[in-house]
Amino acid sequence: MADTPQAALDERVKDISPIRKALIRPELGGIIGTVAVFTFFALLAGSSGMFNAQGIMNWTTVSAQFMIIAVGACLLMIAGEFDLSVGSMIGFAGMMVAIFGVTLGFPMWMAILITFAICLACGWLNGYIVVKTGLPSFIVTLATLFILRGFTIFIPQTVERKTIIGGIREAAEGDWLAPLFGAKILGGLFQWFGDIGLIAVFERGNRAGQPVVDGVPMLIVWAIVLIVFGHLLLTRTKFGNWIFAAGGDAQAARYVGVPVNQVKILMFMFTAFCATVFAVCQVMEFGSAGADRGLLKEFEAIIAVVIGGALLTGGYGSVIGAALGALIFGVVQQGLFFANVESSLFRVFLGVILLLAVILNTYIRRIITGER
């Protein structure tokens, strides 16, 4: 085809400089926001311990939590759907681990696998109902939100007469699967950091001499793995193209043979998977499951995704952007504590960031996609 004569350049398509082109991408809003937020807190809370090892681990862990659920919410939102049941799913999944692993005394690995199976089934059901009835996923998953939260309170009350079930850490002792969610890695490296004085060590108690940060929790590893997986899936695979297509215009995608329904159902299941990972990491770390865990997390996930540049109506977005959105969210939430700001102002700050991010993202997106 090389010998085909060049068609006349369309004079209405403006030339765009390479620098501008490299800058104009879905993640731009997230990148700008991240830089702004870090600058802000470096100035305001730089001396407060926010950027010592322990402080960094604190907001990194909180951000990693948001990232795990944001990756799922991001892919689902790009595929054109919402899942409002994420928060309830977190509470429910944690409770399932506790019920099976502690109350019923199953081996922990079995409790975890059963929990994953149940939650993936819930995700599948969400997707199946949305796809088959054509109802807005907003409504369907809102129903799931209430149903799962109700069970999360009802089941432990019925079997244990209380709403917090503890003893999970003890039950997980020596299990082969539990460390995948609850362990910390690179302990040796951090011990060495502590020994050479790079990070602070405990001054007293039976952990005296150990570094205050004794490893990277699996929660963070999961966050990184899920981000890399989600990013590659979305941008580098055939299936990723189908996700964009399903959310961009489901009918157009169907006409060219994209299995839109399966894509959406799988994304609902992936979102449920992410919520379950979040929950299992949480119960393994804290050792108990509570009926109020995960409250409002669905909105936090959606906020992170939107800060990261995804379009609420689907078909556009970026996993990296969502991860940056989650980072911004986590840093702001914890950073305000470090900066000694009245905690009720957190919401004000979050609202402002959300608004600025959405305005900036809309502007960037219009440049890229020619939306009018």
């Binding site: 802000f40 305001l44 809370a45 407060s48 311990g49 926010m50 010592n52 322990q54 402080g55 681990m57 604190n58 907001w59 862990t61 909180v62 309170i153 009350q157 209380k162 709403t163 917090i164 503890g166 003893g167 999970i168 850490r169 602070a200 405990f202 001054e203 007293r204 108690g205 039976n206 952990r207 005296a208 205050v212 770390e285 804290f286 050792g287 108990s288 509570g290 009926a291 109020d292 865990r293 995960g294 409250l295 409002l296 914890q334 504590f337 470090f338 900066a339 000694n340 700001v341 009245e342 905690s343 009720s344 957190f346 004000v348 700050f349 402002v352 600025l356 305005i359 900036l360 502007y363």
Partner: protein, 314 residues
């Protein structure tokens, strides 16, 4: 670009409250971490208590809480507080499994920790806290139950607005044991929304007309329950006791709707730890035991000061 200017201006406006909050460092910095969601008004007394103690002693005390009441978020806040290296942390121990790890880590870093409000003396010892300031919940419930039994109560409903808080549920268990009845289905999960609480109480009392007594666990559940009882015309007729005080509760005690309120004196739970920590840090003095801030029964006869400071310091 106009757009950028707008953004800069907006950030400047958003940043304004921080400038004020960031200065004013005193020589001693304490953090109080609660488990209560933003919507729980009872903790206002706690905020006032630490503010007053901070002013009087010339120390800085911050109040922090998980906005939704999620205890896992609370654990992160304790970790964060420890990372900021304050001189002391005052925290509740609403769930030992979740909070013991972060609290122990803070203690091991050399930060003094006082447990207030929720927790048991044994748990406080285990996490390495200096002391416990609060009301032993089961004992308070038990005392209330025995008092009610003396007044001729045989059955009751416990209106629980924090169903996920096991410590608070101990109050109901203690009350049932004090009465000598089985808790059974007497505890209802009322939720946090006033209208829902009111409707559920009404529904319960309609379905179980033989109920002798109502026990509410705080202003969140008591205020709508007062309305429900009045609407059903049961005020003064049904035996009504509540934990904690608030403006509406005091009014209801005055007009006879509520027989008694159990005051765990939250002001002391906030004020005393600050005093204890400040004196410990300055002069090395420490009381030798836990401090019981409650229970104190507030009845119609002793309402003067309570009424004056209800919701503020009482």
């Amino acid at each position: 670009m106009k757009f950028v200017k707008t953004m800069v201006a907006a950030v400047a406006v958003a940043a304004a409250p921080f400038a004020a909050a960031a200065d004013g460092h005193a020589d001693l910095n304490y953090v109080l971490v609660s488990h209560a969601p933003d919507s729980d008004s009872w903790w206002n007394t706690i905020k006032n208590g630490i503010a007053l103690a901070g002013d009087q002693l010339g120390v800085n005390v911050e109040y922090r809480n998980p906005p939704t009441g999620d205890l896992a978020d609370m654990a992160r806040i304790i970790e964060q507080a420890a990372a900021a290296q304050p001189d002391g942390i005052i925290t509740t121990l609403a769930d030992f499994d979740v909070l013991s790890g972060p609290i122990k880590a803070a203690v091991d870093q050399g930060i003094d920790v006082i447990i207030m409000n929720s927790g048991t003396p044994e748990q406080v010892r285990e996490v390495g806290g200096l002391m416990f300031v609060g009301q032993p919940e089961y004992d308070a419930g038990l005392a209330a139950g025995m008092r009610a039994k003396g007044d001729g109560v045989e059955s009751f409903v416990c209106v629980n607005h924090v169903i996920s808080n096991t410590v608070v549920a101990e109050r109901c268990r203690g009350f049932a044991d004090g009465l000598g009845v089985d808790l059974g289905d007497s505890m209802i999960d009322s939720g946090q929304d006033p209208a829902e609480i009111k409707n559920r109480v009404t529904a319960y009392l309609t379905a179980n007309p033989e109920t002798d007594a109502i026990l509410t666990l705080g202003p969140t559940s008591a205020d709508p329950t007062i309305l429900a009882v009045k609407e059903m015309g049961l005020d003064g007729d049904i035996y009504f006791g509540t934990f904690d005080l608030g403006t509406n509760i005091v009014e209801a005690i005055k007009d006879g709707t509520i027989q008694w309120g159990i005051d765990q004196q939250p002001f002391l739970q906030a004020y005393l730890p600050v005093v204890v920590l400040a004196n410990y840090d300055r002069y090395g003095v420490l009381p030798g035991n836990n401090i019981n801030s409650g229970p104190g029964f507030v009845t119609k006869d002793a309402l003067g000061k309570v009424e004056e400071f209800a919701g503020e310091y009482r």
